[in-house]
């Protein structure tokens, strides 16, 4: 039957939604575009929030950063919900294979005691840092402006919960599902003097008001330093100590970090190049949080890694990243 149709009869009358057409011209649009641009309400809000009457429900002035168009902060991964969960599902399937391989082969028993205690004292407490990152990214998602950035922050927040849960499962592998190692690791987090700087820093981050500052502190400064120190430098040390197999369990976080860095660098590059004011503000925030984070990490890194220059290595990496993004010159 369809053979009969003159193609003209079934010509679409438009290629995409009008808001997408205004932005990109009259041509077919991607699913990412249609599911991202202009979704958030812009105007005519009915009531001021009882909990923040100084702002509108959606309000650009919840941060000092200024963007002509917040939708410039697009995600180079083009994640909308569907592509996001499918990407992560693939990744979690591979991780599941790793974890069950580790479990079935009884690799825990082959780990030297010293490696196990390193994991409990240093790696597993990181789940509390990931939990903080979950809160901080949710904060940006709730108070940020424009779907381009807020959806990506939500994906990030959920990823951090995922990271925290994988770290917890390392604990469950070590203690044969009794959750004792999680309890011990939590005591380290709560009581071990070496961790208290980091704990105080995490607590402080959750009280900062400007959502973009929180985003910079967590996703740029803390994450750059922590991921290098705990997933690269600690990983190398564990390998030397006979704990090479642990890498099977942290692969998810390593791959995740690469994926998320691509997004973060691109977004921050756009913000920094928007105006000198933005760049200067980013630089100020970075310097503030960099000093604090390095100080907070110093005792735990000193105890965890034998190398005296471990922090310098991580900090140099941060410096290079800041240059690449265009925050420092």
């Amino acid at each position: 039957m369809t053979i009969e149709i003159k193609t003209a009869t079934l010509q679409p009358i438009r290629n995409t939604f009008a808001n997408i057409e205004r932005r990109f011209g009259d041509k077919p649009a991607s699913r990412y575009q249609e599911a991202t641009y202009d979704l958030q309400g812009e105007t005519n809000f009915h009531y001021r929030p009882l909990w923040q009457p100084q702002y509108e429900l959606n309000d650009k002035s919840r941060t000092q950063i200024k963007m002509e168009d917040w939708y410039d902060l697009k995600d180079p991964r083009q994640f909308y919900y569907g592509t996001y969960v499918q990407q992560r599902a693939k990744h979690q399937e591979a991780t599941e294979t790793n974890y069950s391989f580790f479990d079935k082969r009884g690799l825990t028993e082959h780990l030297p005691e010293e490696v196990k205690s390193h994991l409990i004292t240093y790696l597993i407490p990181l789940r509390h840092v990931e939990h903080t990152a979950n809160l901080n990214n949710m904060y940006g998602c709730a108070f940020g402006y424009g779907t381009a950035i807020t959806q990506a922050l939500l994906y990030n927040a959920m990823d951090r919960l995922g990271n925290a849960q994988y770290l917890s499962r390392i604990g469950l592998l070590l203690d044969g599902n009794s959750s004792e190692s999680l309890a011990t690791a939590k005591q380290e987090w709560l009581k071990n003097p070496a961790w208290q700087g980091m704990r105080a820093l995490c607590e402080e981050m959750t009280t900062v008001e400007d959502w973009f500052e929180v985003f910079i502190a967590q996703d740029l400064v803390v994450d750059t330093l922590v991921f290098n120190l705990f997933y690269e430098q600690l990983d190398q040390k564990l390998a030397v100590m006979g704990g090479r197999d642990v890498a099977l369990l942290t692969e998810f976080m390593q791959v995740w970090n690469k994926d998320s860095s691509r997004w973060l660098d691109s977004v921050l590059k756009t913000v920094a190049s928007e105006s000198e004011d933005n760049r200067a503000l980013l630089e100020e925030w970075v310097q503030q949080w960099r000093v604090k984070t390095l100080a907070a990490l110093r005792p735990v890194i000193a105890a965890m890694l034998d190398k005296g220059d471990a922090l310098d290595i991580a900090d140099a990496l941060l410096e290079a990243r800041l240059k690449k993004i265009g925050i420092t010159r």
């Binding site: 369809t2 958030q40 998602c141 704990r199």
Partner: protein
């Protein structure tokens, strides 16, 4: 070491709420500042029962599976021009209302749950809200993708997000969610998770999606049911939050009851739009609004409130009014839109003779008596070439923002008017329910951005309706609005049909 296997509950606890800790260095109240101002007393967050125990790995896995299936259907739908299979082009107007009126609420739900998913001090509740937040983002995005194909062949979809912020009747759903989001975190949960998701959402989705299935709209039916599969989790969160609040402290009971009263009424007013969609906009009917109300509210809600009675919770205020309204509301709402069809972003039309018979059968006590004569008169006028449109702009209810067109329920010939004075001004309402809500929180509702007032005050780009529609709403006049008869939608549909496509 003795390997004692953790059960699902304990494991989930270890993997979620155990991640949090008591603060020693920063002020936890500064980190979670909005927990107290509503007067709700939480003595122990650890009493929170996680309704479902989904860890992120399982979440990604199951949701990806749903998405894969859903997008396969979307792809097939557009490759095969699935829009040609709908029962009639008139049907498409129902999903125009959906995209412009409901999808933006999914977006606001995403935002609202992100906010409470950050602000609650209890990690269990927080994580449940975060998952709902990302689910709601899923809903708005899959709805856009489902409608994307329709937008290429029909008018009225194209500027849905712009319209939602501005158009007169869309301020009904917009103000509903603005109201919830601007409330405190606990009221938000009672409003959306409990009153809306648990008590009323079935009325929005289930009959409507069955309607889509019945009218050959596979794309909508599929996204609808796929979204509903998340809804079961959301509903359970709604039930959990209410039990949690009621068990935490007896002082919470009257506060919660007040919110239930408010949000039940607010919700029923919002659903007037769904009522008219079911009774008037679906060419192939599934069930009447009245039947849906009976199954999904009276039966299901009745069981729920019986269960909650042990906490001292009673049925929402004005529930007796809704028992009368179910006979009238869809007819009155569609009449409002029919008579203002020149200012609507979708097409209205008179029910056909068969549809009127169906309405008579479904509404034996009211349709023939009150509504059939109206439609027959409208039909006569249309046949004479004098399709009736109301001139001028309607007065809106300050609370629900629906034009004042609903009647006294004991006298369906008499438009209901209520009013209140506040700080020297008079405010108007469509019902006792709406007046009551205003009187409880006048400072909030005097802020309402009432579209008609705004037009009169010159805030919508012009004084005459046509300029407002064209310039401010960005409607394509003569395409998006007016009767279905004579619309470009109808013309194209007939052309497809005559060529044997549809």
């Amino acid at each position: 070491m003795v390997a004692k296997k953790l059960n699902l509950k304990d494991k989930y606890r270890a993997l979620t709420r155990d991640l949090d800790w008591d603060y020693d260095y920063a002020d936890r109240k500064k980190a979670f500042p909005y927990e107290e101002f509503e007067g709700i007393k939480i003595t122990d967050w650890s009493k929170w029962e996680d309704p479902f125990r989904l860890t992120m790995d399982a979440y990604w896995k199951y949701q990806a599976e749903k998405e894969k299936k859903l997008y396969a259907i979307f792809d097939a739908f557009s490759q095969n021009n699935g829009h040609l299979n709908v029962s009639d082009a008139r049907y498409v107007n129902a999903i125009k209302v959906f995209l412009t009126g409901v999808s933006p609420l999914e977006y606001q739900a995403f935002q609202g749950y992100a906010h409470v998913g950050r602000q609650f001090g209890g990690a269990g509740a927080r994580v449940a809200c975060q998952m709902q937040s990302i689910d709601e983002l899923r809903h708005v995005q899959t709805q856009i993708h489902a409608m994307s194909h329709y937008n290429k062949f029909f008018d009225g979809f194209q500027d849905w997000t712009h319209m939602h912020d501005r158009v007169w009747y869309l301020s009904v759903p917009k103000s509903f969610f603005d109201d919830a989001r601007s409330a405190g975190p606990f009221e938000f949960l009672i409003a959306i998770s409990f009153s809306f998701e648990y008590v009323l959402t079935n009325l929005l989705f289930v009959p409507f999606m069955s309607g889509a299935a019945h009218n050959g709209d596979m794309a909508t039916c599929t996204f609808g049911f796929s979204a509903q599969s998340d809804e079961a989790r959301h509903m359970t969160l709604g039930l959990e939050i209410i039990k949690f609040l009621l068990e935490q402290h007896e002082d919470n009971v009257p506060i919660v009851q007040k919110w239930i009263d408010k949000w039940f009424w607010r919700g029923t007013r919002l659903l007037a739009i769904v009522a008219m969609m079911m009774d008037y906009m679906l060419p192939n009917k599934v069930m009447s609004w009245k039947e849906a109300w009976e199954v999904y509210f009276e039966d299901a809600g009745g069981a729920l409130f019986k269960d909650l009675a042990r906490y001292g919770i009673r049925m929402p205020k004005f529930v007796e009014t809704t028992a009368k309204e179910k006979e009238h509301i869809s007819h009155q709402a569609w009449w409002i839109f029919y008579t203002h069809g020149h200012a609507a972003g979708f097409h209205t039309s008179i029910p056909s003779a068969e549809e009127m018979d169906w309405l008579s059968e479904k509404y034996p006590d009211t349709f023939d008596k009150y509504y059939r004569p109206r439609w027959e008169l409208a039909k006569e006028m249309e046949d004479r070439g004098e399709r009736f449109y109301t001139n001028g702009l309607p007065q809106l209810c300050t609370t629900c923002q629906i034009p004042m067109g609903f009647t006294e329920m004991d006298d369906p010939t008499q438009i209901a008017y209520r009013s209140s004075d506040f700080e020297g001004e008079k405010y108007h309402f469509c019902s006792d329910g709406c007046k009551h809500i205003f009187d409880e929180e006048p400072e909030k509702y005097v802020q309402s951005w009432l579209p008609v007032h705004q037009i009169y005050q010159g805030n919508c780009g012009g004084a005459d309706v046509e300029t407002v529609l064209r310039e401010y709403y960005k409607m394509n006049l003569g395409e998006d609005n007016m009767d279905f008869k004579g619309s470009p939608d109808e013309k194209r549909w007939n052309e497809w049909k005559s060529k044997g496509v549809a």
